[in-house]
């Protein structure tokens, strides 16, 4: 099967694969996503969707530093599998590393659509995109 391979930067180690859920808006993990992994921020372009077992693709993080612990918890409970960012900032980086959620950034996320199959290699900083169609 054909895939596109993009080289990014390794932020949090580990290898994982899964279906992409793409948001084009910055996400705050304190308030925007609940404990079960449902997006509760009404302003979000993925409002109401579940991030469960998805590779969450979004440009960057924002908001309170307590967000790091929320991401940790989502990872620990197996809800959030992997993260792809355009530009990772410290709050999301910290949470992903604590929660052992593989994370690669410096990726052109416009090349990824919701539903694409993603193979995320956080050790090498590589994202493979298998288009849905």
């Amino acid at each position: 099967m054909d895939y596109v391979e993009i080289m990014g930067r390794s932020i949090s180690k580990g290898v994982v694969e899964g279906e992409a859920l793409v948001s084009h808006k910055p996400i705050s993990f304190l308030g925007d996503i609940n404990k079960e992994g449902i997006v509760t921020d009404r302003e979000s372009d993925i409002y109401g969707k579940s991030i469960k077992e998805k590779i969450l693709v979004f440009p960057t993080g924002k908001g309170s530093t307590v967000g790091s612990y929320v991401i940790y918890s989502l990872g620990k409970r197996g809800i959030l599998k992997g993260i792809v960012n355009r530009e990772c900032e410290p709050i999301v980086a910290t949470g992903a590393i604590l929660g052992r959620i593989p994370l690669v950034d410096k990726i052109d996320i416009s090349k990824i659509d919701t539903g694409d199959w993603i193979v995320l290699d956080g050790n090498k900083g590589i994202v493979k995109i298998y288009k849905r169609n």
């Binding site: 530093t65 790091s68 709050i91």
Partner: protein, 405 residues
């Protein structure tokens, strides 16, 4: 980022999962901020201690990271917790909160962190030398260490400070480098400042303008009296209303005295008496009487405790004198000296409490029924309305104490 052979081994998990995670965190943060390598630190100071701020997720993380018996590798102290760790019953802290808070403390203790929960570690033994690289998280302590002591730290988060404590290193970027320690604003203070609370007002005003940049203060009338407590109040307030991690004061702070500061390129701000009065009114959000008077954000020095004692003695206040609760917050270290000086006895005979390990911002005061808080702290005045849903009565130490009579 360049890693030594030994650092690479830690990164690759040869020394266990906890250190691997800590190293991954430092390396990734270093990459994000453009650090070339790691640098040794002489001490760490870790935030994210109160159950109120880190919640169940934070507690679970600490349980996780402390379970393998990995210890910190440099002297490490803790930020304030959500309660007095000895007198929580007497002070009516909610039972469930107490249990969770004690669990958090147990995790830190297991890792070899000193359980002297304070935002003023520099008053109680965690004292860097000029030029030392450190990894501190409490914003007011970061400000004091960078500015007044001339040590070097970025504003760390709780987890990154803990990772640094475990590894004994921090990524070399930001305020660790000379070129990032130059000021971009000159602040000429024309107004004459007296009380500690005036420095809080000044910090609140200037922090809002300079945001995360470095201000250079010129006090036209100098700084009189207890310089340390005043600079402590100024830095805390600058870090709360803005996110200032470093400031300089002409003729006073070490980098200025050593002529390391280049002030040619800076923008200028002048602060007059009127500016401070306006800011004073901004900080006051209610005309009502306080339910709680709180002195000691950041934690009181011995001199600040003495100011409260002098007020009580001068006004001959007895047990029923204060119509509301009074907390004088400090570290357990300073409290021991206050006990020996007889200060604690004076305050407690007048109905107040000398409270250790916590403060009005990170304690669950809203759950305890406190709504109107009187404070002499610019930092507390900034955080209380949003963080605790409180109304603020701001003023000098004697002004806020008078409000409780």
């Amino acid at each position: 980022m360049y890693l030594t052979k030994e650092e690479e081994k830690i990164y690759n998990g040869e020394y266990g999962e906890v250190l691997e995670m800590a190293m991954n965190l430092l390396v990734s943060l270093g990459d994000i901020y453009g650090a070339e390598r790691l640098i040794d630190i002489s001490s760490a100071q870790v935030s994210g201690v109160s159950y109120k701020t880190i919640g169940e997720e934070g507690l679970n993380f600490l349980r996780d990271i402390s379970k393998d018996d990995v210890k910190v590798s440099v002297p490490t102290t803790l930020n304030p917790a959500g309660m007095d760790l000895s007198r929580y019953e007497e002070l009516n802290f909610p039972r469930n909160f107490v249990k969770k808070q004690l669990d958090i403390i147990k995790c830190f203790k297991k890792m070899g962190v000193e359980i002297g929960c304070t935002c003023t570690p520099y008053l109680s033994g965690n004292i860097p030398i000029y030029g030392d690289h450190i990894a501190w998280a409490e914003s007011s302590a970061v400000s004091y260490a960078n500015s007044v002591i001339g040590a070097r730290t970025n504003r760390e988060g709780g987890p990154s400070a803990l990772a640094s404590a475990l590894i004994g290193k921090t990524p070399l970027y930001g305020y660790h480098l000379d070129e990032n320690r130059m000021p971009s604003y000159t602040v000429e203070v024309e107004a004459e400042l007296e009380d500690i609370s005036d420095y809080g007002i000044l910090g609140s005003l200037v922090g809002r303008i300079v945001k995360d940049e470095v201000p250079y203060f010129v006090f036209k009338n100098g700084i009189s009296g207890d310089k340390y407590s005043k600079l402590k109040a100024l830095g805390a307030s600058l870090a709360a209303s803005g996110s200032v991690a470093l400031y300089h004061v002409e003729g006073i702070t070490p980098e200025c005295r050593m002529n390391k500061i280049d002030i040619d390129i800076t923008e200028r701000i002048t602060v007059t008496k009127e500016d401070l009065e306006e800011e004073y009114h901004r900080l006051n959000t209610t005309e009502e009487k306080p339910d709680l008077i709180c002195i000691g954000c950041p934690h009181c020095s011995l001199e600040e405790i003495k100011e409260v004692v002098d007020f009580i003695v001068k006004n001959n206040i007895r047990r029923t004198g204060f119509k509301c609760d009074l907390w004088v917050c400090t570290s357990i270290h300073i409290k021991v000296i206050a006990d020996r000086m007889g200060y604690t006895e004076v305050i407690e005979r007048a109905g107040g409490k000398v409270v250790c390990d916590t403060c009005m911002v990170v304690a669950p005061i809203e759950e305890m029924g406190y709504k109107n808080i009187a404070t002499n702290s610019g930092k507390a005045a900034t955080y209380l309305p949003n963080f605790c849903g409180s109304n603020v009565i701001y003023g000098s130490t004697s002004e806020v104490l008078k409000k409780g009579l």
